[in-house]
């Protein structure tokens, strides 16, 4: 086990360059100096600016759109409405399901939520477009809306049978259990709130479209644009070298993209469209609001006999989003009897979307709060009850874990946190007016696996170039792929240039579900191995090579130099060797697709999620794991909760770069603190509209809200999860933070808060 503190980058330098080293982000300097050019910073000749007009009602029909004044406003080039925008084709969904053969219009006539795009104004300047957009007059025939899950009209929703998980006889076992608890847990609408708002620059050249757009999935989005505009996939180029945060919200081409690309096509000029911060709250979906009831039957020793779980999440009127609420419930603890079912309820909202650990995050809030409640009822330490019910194998899939270092995580976290010193009674620890509480909760996230492709080149100067259409939204792809290629070829990472974020490069699937590092390190490793083989092959066999006479059957490449394994004979740099054999480069493409894959398989793999490998495929069940130990201080007069200490131990398997992994874990924990204490879309129920749609009113944590966070890696290489032994990193950290905080708040105050966020009025 390694313990890393918050500030530890002492290993920067030569050691850091290898895979597993603490190399700092290679894209850091470009970002800090402003040299990194983000997608919408493209300055193109003739650029025009589009601004969206949004619905101000939540439900009904657009009666008329009066564009006369807007069209007459200075600088206006066109006003797009459902009647004037060009007709597009409906695109397939992210599974690649063939779409219905019908037109698609990104501007709505039928209004199903407040903030829906109804029109757009394109002008010579951004300011002119903003001014003219305010002059577009939309009239509506309004109908009653379903505000949210608590709306009387919402009903029970649609059962999602695919979410049902059952074994044993859970209701009967519950009825027979000596100890029974049942509670309801709610999470509100939450928003990804990336620093960089959504937007794009679209340019047509003939029937070729180039889109500069922040993207978590270039190939998937290119496919959608291609299908909308009925052009070949190859004609669409997505460019996204840097992304200012996505958290799940930038994986799909969205209606604003269709509007901008349509405008560019109609005008014959490149068009830029950037959402306002307000629009980012309705232009796409945040995390769906959820409700869960968790019922646990146990014996008096706290051994779980039965879990009955019912979940509901909201979706939109005409879109479908399922937030899998039974995902953690069904695997965290061993139970002989289990039942989980889920419904989805339609409300007048934009269709919700992926946000850091969709499913696992709210699911963990339910089960990890409930087991804490059980611990108090049976009078067992909350850590001890988790160990008693430890699942030795996947209780749902009934398969062995590939690796599960959760026990180690509990042990390491408890030790560093000092859990043994906890006084069990609620309200028993205080410091003046501050009630102190200690809480624990576990988290998990499945290892999502897919296939990837990369190009590795060894260039004349001995440097190495890696190309992939995968992306880096801050998680460190540039850096770990440089480390992977460096280690595989045998050069310093400083001599590797990684190029990402252009759909012309070797293809990649979605960067979501914490899969990218595992997929891409595997692909780069494969391509780099084959480049290295070519290099060594040339050195051995080319008559012009200084190694030719040696008759060796292998050579060693290290630190950019080639020599024989025994150290006798020549020692030349890669550049010298390439020169001697008259080559200006070596190039290798590597992919991890099955050998007999067709071109169609490849297209499907990179542009849909249909070919992702299930995490329970084969003999193993694959997950990352973590345990959070959190101290809170609650002011007994004011009800304010401050997180004062966090120790988290996490199992993400092998870490390709601990510094970056720790940074992502901490980022997840910080986001979890926000979720627990601050974040909530606040709805005006009369208008069906989120009113805190800006970053002054939608609160995310500031530095002052975040204590020292200690993260401990307890992972071991997991050969079943990825080529190089890593498991998921990015989403794991957030899972379990909110229940750990809620549990700590209970310990501090004796009040159980089951509705997030835990704001002061709930404790006062």
């Amino acid at each position: 086990m390694t313990v890393h503190t918050r500030h530890g980058d002492a290993l920067d330098g030569a050691l850091a360059q290898a895979l597993g080293g603490r190399l700092s982000r290679v894209d850091g300097p470009a970002k800090i100096t402003g040299a990194a050019k983000y997608a919408v910073e493209q300055q193109l000749e003739g650029l025009a600016y589009a601004v969206l007009v949004e619905s101000t009602i939540a439900s009904g029909k657009v009666r008329a759109i009066d564009t006369v004044q807007a069209e007459a406003a200075p600088g206006v080039l066109q006003v797009l409405t459902p009647d004037t925008i060009i007709s597009l084709r409906t695109a397939s969904d992210w599974f690649g399901t063939p779409p219905p053969d019908k037109p698609y219009c990104p501007l709505a006539r039928d209004i199903t939520f407040s903030g829906q795009h109804v029109a757009a104004v394109v002008a010579e300047t951004f300011e002119q477009a903003v001014a003219a957009a305010a002059l577009v007059k939309v009239s509506y025939d309004e109908t009653p809306s379903i505000v949210d899950l608590s709306d009387g009209k919402a009903g029970d929703g649609i059962p999602i049978d695919a979410m049902t998980k059952e074994w044993g006889d859970a209701p009967a076992a519950f009825a027979a259990a000596p100890v029974r608890i049942c509670a309801a847990y709610n999470t509100p609408r939450e928003y990804q709130a990336p620093m960089e708002p959504h937007g794009l620059v679209a340019r047509w050249e003939g029937d070729h479209l180039t889109v500069w757009e922040p993207s978590q999935w270039l190939d998937g989005m290119a496919r959608t644009y291609a299908e909308w505009f009925e052009v070949p996939f190859e004609n669409v180029r997505l460019v996204s070298p840097y992304i200012g945060g996505g958290f799940g919200s930038k994986a799909l081409a969205l209606s604003h993209g269709a509007v901008a690309a349509s405008a560019a096509k109609m005008l014959g000029r490149p068009v830029k469209l950037v959402m306002t911060r307000q629009q980012t709250f309705t232009g796409y979906g945040g995390r769906a609001a959820t409700r869960q009831t968790v019922t646990i039957g146990a014996d008096r020793d706290g051994m779980i006999q039965s879990i009955v779980h019912r979940g509901v999440n909201e979706t939109s009127i005409d879109g479908m989003w399922v937030e899998p609420l039974g995902s953690v419930t069904s695997i965290m603890y061993a139970t002989p009897n289990f039942s989980s079912r889920q419904n989805v309820v339609r409300v007048n909202s934009v269709v919700p979307g992926a946000m850091r650990a969709p499913g696992e995050n709210p699911s963990a809030f339910g089960i990890e709060s409930a087991i804490d409640e059980l611990a108090y009822v049976v009078g067992i330490d909350p850590l001890e009850i988790r160990l008693r019910n430890y699942a030795e194998q996947d209780p749902h899939a009934k398969k062995a874990w590939s690796t599960r270092q959760l026990r180690e995580a509990f042990a390491a976290g408890a030790e560093r946190f000092g859990w043994a010193r906890r006084s069990p009674e609620p309200r028993s620890m205080r410091d003046g007016n501050q009630l102190i509480g200690w809480g624990v909760a576990a988290g998990t996230y499945p290892v999502r696996r897919a296939y990837g492709e990369a190009v590795v080149r060894i260039l004349a100067d001995g440097s190495v170039e890696v190309e992939s259409s995968s992306i880096d939204m801050g998680q460190g792809t540039y850096t770990i792929l440089a480390q992977t290629a460096a280690e595989t070829v045998g050069v310093p990472a400083d001599d590797v240039v990684v190029k990402l974020g252009d759909s012309r490069f070797a293809r990649a699937g979605v960067s979501g579900g914490s899969r990218l590092a595992g997929v891409m390190t595997g692909a780069v490793h494969k391509a780099a191995t084959s480049a290295l083989d070519q290099l060594v092959g040339l050195a051995i066999s080319d008559p012009r090579s200084p190694f030719h006479a040696l008759q060796a059957n292998t050579l060693v490449v290290a630190k950019g130099r080639i020599g024989s394994p025994r150290g006798d004979g020549p020692d030349v740099s890669i550049a010298e060797l390439l020169k001697s054999v008259g080559r200006d480069r070596i190039e290798a493409t590597g992919d991890t697709m099955p050998a007999n894959s067709t071109a169609e398989d490849r297209y499907k793999n990179y542009t849909t999620i249909a070919m992702a490998l299930p995490h329970t495929e084969g003999d193993y069940s694959r997950y990352s794991w973590c345990a959070h130990f959190i101290e809170v201080r609650v002011d007994e007069d004011f009800g304010t909760v401050r997180v004062s200490r966090v120790v988290s131990a996490l199992d993400s398997g092998r870490l390709y770069n601990p510094k970056l992994a720790e940074s992502q874990w901490k980022g997840g924990i910080i986001m979890g603190i926000g979720q627990a204490l601050l974040e909530e879309g606040i709805m005006d129920r009369r208008h069906g509209r989120i009113v805190n749609n800006n970053l002054a009113d939608y609160l995310v944590p500031t530095n002052a809200d975040i204590p020292d966070i200690e993260v401990i890696s307890v992972g071991i290489p997991d050969p079943h999860s990825s080529a190089l032994g890593g498991k998921g990193v990015g989403e794991l950290g957030i899972v379990g933070v909110a229940p750990a905080i809620a549990n700590a708040v209970f310990h501090a105050t004796g009040k159980r808060v089951r509705d997030l966020p835990i704001t002061l009025e709930k404790l006062i």
Binding site: G639, P701, T702, A704
Partner: protein, 327 residues
């Protein structure tokens, strides 16, 4: 945002003349005004930039009191050594406000004039009813999202909370606003909404705030600003209290007490009833807590903001007791 013209004032008189014209607005740090222009709330025809005026950023502190120029930056005033020692509540109110970046831009004059954070006020495209924006149009907040709205000083026309921290400390210490030669108590400068919530300040078109003046006092010297909020920083008050105290020679009996509330009222709210109840009393927790309840006499909630009525007296009591501890 629509087109407007920009005029850089060369003298205070020129600023007054330019600002008197219809559609003209003074521009200081711009942290409120530009924001409101982007929301479509402020629609100036002319911006009169006063940031280049000389001499309006002075901070003079003496035994008698402090005079702070309207263009002094929030950050400078917060960090000023004499303000910190003689008027700790003023410094604390300022450094706990907004963010470091905003405090480096924002001026004291602009700070007094900041507008409410009522979400309905700030979103004209979606909510046409707002008496503060359009007199007689109604109030969208009543019956809507009210968690941040006022519980004191409200009217049927408007329940918007005044969000500023500095002005709360200013009313506690009887500060005055200088509008050129005209002087007016800060307490009188802010108006209750009544039936005219669009009129927030006793300032006439063409008047420019030139300075604020805070009389020195023993209570100001032993003072504090306690701000309670959902987030630890960069967040408006859920409830706050500016409190100053002066003890008799025994160090326990309260000779002078100043209490003002922020985050709970339609204007900076002086809590004179609490002051009166405690003057002459010996400071002890029970007495202080009981008297602090008077801070919210007459409070009216609108559902989600009910917690402010519970919270505000506790904030007042804690602030008073905290000052007592240092006696």
């Amino acid at each position: 945002m629509r087109d407007f013209s920009y005029l850089r004032a060369t003298s205070t008189d020129a600023a007054r003349q330019a600002a008197a014209l219809p559609g003209a607005m003074l521009l200081a740090g711009g942290t409120t005004l530009i924001d409101l222009a982007k929301c479509g709330v402020a629609e100036p025809d002319t911006l009169v930039d006063i940031t280049h005026l000389k001499g309006l950023d002075r901070i003079d502190v003496s035994e008698r009191g402090a005079t702070i120029g309207a263009l002094a930056k929030m950050g400078h005033v917060a960090d000023h050594a004499d303000i910190k020692s003689r008027f700790p509540a003023i410094s604390e109110a300022l450094w706990q406000a907004a963010s470091a970046q905003i405090r480096n831009m924002a001026t004291i004059g602009g700070n007094l004039m900041q507008r409410t954070r009522c979400p309905y006020f700030r979103d004209p495209a979606n909510f046409s009813a707002c008496n503060k924006r359009v007199p007689g149009s109604g109030c969208s907040a009543i019956g809507g999202v009210t968690r941040g709205h006022a519980v004191l000083g409200t009217s049927d026309a408007c329940i918007a909370m005044y969000p500023g921290d500095l002005a709360t400390a200013l009313v506690a210490f009887d500060a005055t606003v200088h509008l050129g030669d005209r002087r007016i108590l800060v307490d009188d400068f802010f108006l209750l909404p009544g039936t005219t919530p669009d009129r927030e300040h006793a300032i006439e078109p063409g008047e420019v705030i030139t300075a604020i003046e805070i009389p020195g006092s023993a209570a100001a010297r032993r003072s504090t600003y306690l701000k309670i909020r959902d987030r630890q920083s960069y967040e408006f008050a859920a409830a706050s209290a500016a409190v100053g105290i002066e003890f008799e020679a025994d160090g326990r009996t309260i000779r002078d007490l100043r209490v003002a509330l922020g985050g709970v009222a339609t204007k900076p709210w002086r809590a004179r009833a609490v002051e009166a109840a405690l003057k002459g009393k010996v400071l002890d927790p029970e007495t202080v807590r009981a008297a602090s309840l008077l801070a919210v006499e007459g409070a009216v909630d609108h559902g989600a903001n009910h917690y402010k009525i519970e919270l505000a007296p506790r904030v007042v009591a804690r602030a008073i007791l905290k000052l007592g501890e240092t006696a």
